[in-house]
């Protein structure tokens, strides 16, 4: 029965890592929906969340929860500043220009973080102990439960926000057709700003909840941003649920690939499956296809 234990461990590990990828991918979709651009600085929000928490904890003798709140708040402000200083002034720039600006911004943020906090890797204490829990024949860290729990919570909040509040509905309207939304009296610029604020905060949260497991450093954003981007693409750019699903698929593929085949090939396996999915469904698993783009 050894293989059942092994498979269940692979599945659990994949699920937990996948949720993180999904959460980061989620941030990509929110900005994409509001502006049509892919924000390659999303990974840096993830880095900022983790690094700010580590350094707030060192600076002030405050409880972890407060530091986490402050780190998310600070990242949210950085997200707003980023939009105001780099995205907003470009009135009618093409999406490709804006995408390149986000890449530039990500390099800037990473560089500043390196100068400010150095190049070391930093640990963050786990939220509730580091005794592994046994789940059937597999083991899981309490931190994994936090990750899964917060991911579900964010999904629910997201659903409530985008479907049951006036701001959420306005943001969805912008994603369908910004011009029509603007004619209907929605301030599209405000919605863009709001989208940056929300995805910065979401990214920061993702960065904080994984830091106790994976540790954090100034350059974690590159890898995690890429994984989140993949998650968003598999799920269909623009679909929040899709990004989460995409993330979990990616996480499972990686962990099964590493476990059953070879760790050396796990990225290759994950990306081959990605390509197959995109060949079969170019719009992603939950994408709306291209018909809106007339």
């Amino acid at each position: 029965m050894e293989w059942i234990a092994q498979i269940s461990q692979y599945l659990l590990s994949g699920l937990a890592n996948g949720s993180i990828y999904g959460l980061i991918g989620f941030g990509f979709t929110i900005i994409y929906n509001a502006t049509g651009i892919i924000n390659f600085a999303q990974g840096e929000f993830v880095m900022l969340g983790g690094m700010l928490t580590v350094f707030l904890l060192q600076l002030f003798p405050l409880p972890l929860v407060l530091c986490i709140g402050m780190a998310i708040g600070t990242t949210l402000i950085i997200g707003i500043l980023f939009e105001r200083l780099a995205i907003h002034p470009l009135k009618n720039a093409s999406p490709i220009t804006m995408v390149i600006i986000t890449i530039g911004a990500s390099i800037l943020m990473r560089g500043l973080a390196m100068i400010l906090w150095g190049k070391d890797t930093h640990p963050l204490p786990p939220f509730s102990g580091d005794e592994a829990l046994a789940l059937g024949k597999a083991t899981i860290m309490p931190q994994h439960l936090w990750i899964l729990g917060l991911t579900v919570l964010i999904l629910i909040l997201n659903r409530l926000f985008f479907h049951h509040t006036i701001y959420g509905k306005a943001m969805r309207a912008c994603s369908v057709n910004p011009r029509a939304a603007s004619l209907a009296g929605i301030n599209v610029k405000t919605m863009v700003l709001l989208s940056f604020a929300i995805s910065a905060a979401l990214g920061a949260l993702a960065g904080i909840i994984i830091a106790p497991l994976t540790m954090t450093s100034y350059d974690v954003g590159i890898m995690l941003g890429l994984k989140g981007f993949c998650a968003a693409i598999i799920g269909g750019m623009g679909s929040g649920m899709g990004a989460l699903l995409g993330g979990i698929i990616l996480g499972l593929l990686e962990s099964l690939g590493a476990g059953l085949v070879s760790a050396g090939y796990k990225d290759a396996i994950a990306f081959v499956v990605l390509l197959v999915i995109l060949f079969l469904r170019p719009g992603g698993l939950m994408g709306k296809g291209e018909m809106e783009r007339v």
């Binding site: 293989w3 692979y10 890797t121 580091d130 860290m141 890898m223 962990s255 760790a263």
Partner: protein
């Protein structure tokens, strides 16, 4: 970005009589954890020598270029050191790849090079103008295998990082295992940026391995240590000298407990017996580095300490021309440095034995010597 930057020119008054030493360190870029302490140490030691009156009355001038871990940049910077700065000897580069890119240049220009990288191919086969201070990976591997053999372990699992350091470690592990009657029953890798190694470790649970050897540099091995604890694998975990620093204990937390690894002596300098020939230098290096840079001196900085002091030693004995320095280096015998006791010869330009390493174990969140 393409032009290497002059990071430091020490010695305020540069006279015509000064001796110019070149240094290539990856102060930035991925191997900055090597290059930064190396640059710091080299500067500190050159200043110290100058303050004490220089070498036979001549002041040293240190010219450092940042290679950013890039062999192409290392090659360009070496060219500049040789042709424009006209240095008499070069320290560094920090990594094996960069060193290999620089070797043809120094061999042609006949300038002695003391590499701070560990790769065995730097000095095997012996190149006339090339020496190195970092301990060969094979010495660390043999140190672990000797210990395993004493413990009666003959089946091991190997988990290495998929970069240059891990690949070299994996090669040496495979090469030396048969000599000690050890069989590698599982051989897997992880990416340098991977954040979860439970799949690799879960796979290993089904194997007959009696010990795991993990070869990598931070942060990967810390994740491995945490995952081993999470999965409750009840077999001993060994690491490489790549993580022999306080940082590793900080990163791995309680999961570091009990891990054994080979390390340069700098990590446990205060625990060494009084008769250890390196103890005096180790303690002075640690306290001077701490006083100046506010962080712990590590064995990476030690590679540069050894390079500077070996060159100084060679100049005192043989003279100040590149040829004299090279000959002086080759004649060095029983030189106690930070990385070990160096004895070079025409057949051996690495100069160290397995005595350069000690086995250390994490106990109660601190390093301790394994007897």
């Amino acid at each position: 970005m393409t032009v290497a930057i002059i990071l430091a020119i020490s010695a305020p008054a540069i006279g015509a009589e000064d001796v110019k030493l070149g240094a290539l360190f990856s102060v930035t870029g991925p191997p900055s954890f090597l290059g930064e302490p190396e640059r710091n140490t080299a500067q500190m030691m050159v200043e110290k020598i100058n303050k004490a009156g220089g070498v036979k009355g001549k002041k040293l001038e240190l010219i450092v270029y940042d290679t950013q871990g890039d062999p192409t940049k290392a090659n360009q910077a070496a060219d500049r050191l040789i042709k424009e700065d006209k240095v008499v000897a070069i320290m560094g580069p920090s990594t094996t790849g960069e060193t290999m890119a620089v070797i043809p240049l120094v061999e042609k220009a006949k300038i002695p090079l003391i590499s701070c990288a560990a790769g065995i191919k730097i000095t095997e086969p012996v190149k006339k103008w090339v020496f190195k201070t970092a301990q060969n990976d094979s010495l660390a591997v043999e140190k672990i295998f000797k210990h395993l053999k004493e413990k009666g372990v003959n089946k091991i699992a190997v988990l290495t990082v998929s970069d240059g350091f891990g690949a070299s470690g994996r090669e040496q592990l495979k090469l030396h295992a048969p000599k000690y009657g050890i069989e590698i029953v599982s051989d897997d890798t992880f990416g340098p940026k991977d954040t979860d190694m439970t799949p690799q470790l879960t796979k290993l649970r089904g194997s007959p391995a009696q010990a795991i050897i993990c070869w990598g540099t931070n942060p990967g091995p810390a994740v491995v240590a945490r995952n081993v604890k999470q999965l409750n694998l009840n077999i001993p975990l060994y690491m490489s000298h790549g993580v022999s620093s306080k940082k590793f204990i900080e990163l791995a937390g309680p999961a570091a407990e009990g891990i054994i690894l080979p390390s340069g002596k700098v990590l446990v300098a205060d625990l060494l017996p009084q008769k250890d020939p390196q103890k005096k230098h180790l303690l002075s290096f640690i306290s001077e580095y701490k006083a100046r840079y506010k962080t712990e001196g590590d064995h990476f900085g030690g590679h540069a300490w050894d390079a500077v002091m070996l060159i100084k030693n060679a100049m005192e004995k043989a003279g100040f021309t590149p040829v004299a320095i090279r000959d002086g280096l080759e004649q060095t015998k029983n030189f106690s440095g930070i990385g070990g006791v160096f004895s070079f010869s025409p057949e051996d330009h690495a100069g160290l034995t397995a005595e350069a390493f000690v086995l250390v174990q994490v106990k109660n969140g601190r390093w301790s010597l394994v007897k």
